[in-house]
Symmetry: C2
């Protein structure tokens, strides 16, 4: 999927609705992908995202030691791949090869982007105060790559118990906002 530069201060547009993301990471000659449902926007500028990455994930060590990752936004066409990625371990397999995903070099981090995703956000570890106690990483998005179309990709949102919600219709309430709230 061909992507274009996107302003990092606006990445809330993709994170805030709550979709499942795919985190890609690399360390020395290892690489991995994991699913991420536990994330939140924390700030516009610097562009900060908080993520809970359980220590039980193979990716945890790669991200903690490299202090970098790419957060990729998959759309609904990748749902079965997303589920498969979340149900196996990078200790045993190379998930790029296993699921025929294409690693693309990022600009600012050594972790690869996933070419098949709608968007890829290059991240550097910004704050690690809650990493040891809560597995909570705060990343700064240092570069964002977004496919120009579709404008409103169908995203997948995990509900637990093996069930997903797909993003539905978009409605605007822009006319009800105070200008400074937009």
């Amino acid at each position: 999927m061909k992507k274009a530069d996107f302003p990092v201060a606006n990445v809330r547009h993709f994170f805030e609705p709550g979709p499942v993301m795919l985190i890609s990471s690399a360390l020395a000659n290892e690489r991995d992908i994991m699913t991420l449902g536990w994330h939140t926007v924390l700030e516009f500028s610097p562009s900060l995202i908080g993520c809970m990455i359980s220590v039980g994930n193979h990716s945890h060590r790669l991200i903690k030691e490299s202090r970098e990752c790419v957060i990729n936004l998959p759309t609904s066409g990748l749902l079965d791949t997303v589920v498969a990625i979340g149900n196996c371990s990078g200790e045993e397999i190379d998930k790029f090869a296993e699921f025929s995903l294409t690693p693309q070099p990022a600009s600012n981090v050594s972790a690869p982007m996933i070419a098949e995703c709608h968007a890829s956000f290059e991240c550097r570890l910004f704050e690690d105060a809650l990493v040891d106690s809560l597995n909570f990483f705060v990343f700064e998005v240092v570069k964002a790559h977004v496919a120009p179309s579709p404008k409103k990709p169908e995203t997948v949102h995990y509900c637990g118990d093996g069930e997903f919600m797909l993003s539905g219709k978009h409605v605007s309430r822009r006319s009800l906002f105070r200008p400074e709230m937009l």
Copy 2:
């Protein structure tokens, strides 16, 4: 809306898809409501939720000092109320009165629940290490109240720029999960 007890370890079902929430809080004779789009699940048990509550919100002080709040889940029928709540300040008005919302006593915290919401999660501050630097509060959900129906309420997800995504169809991939991942 009549609600029933719900297991606190399962609240990810409501938080993880990413809906806009309404936080209610109280301190002495003040009370307030604010919209919350920046939140994440952090742990099943204890049941932990992380929230970015900007210091610019009137609720910030009430929550920081009382160390309690209720996080309420509004459904799409409340969308215009959600927008209105997010576009005014509790410094000037009592939002319960202004928007005809009904405060209900909670069981374990002094903050009121919002009767018109589908679910209400009573929270106590669990970890404040990132409150001063990033306005990031980690709460423990100590009691959860959820309306028995509808089973899949239509939720609202903020995209920025005054635009919302409504939750769409639900699809199950349960058969593709390893049992320990459910």
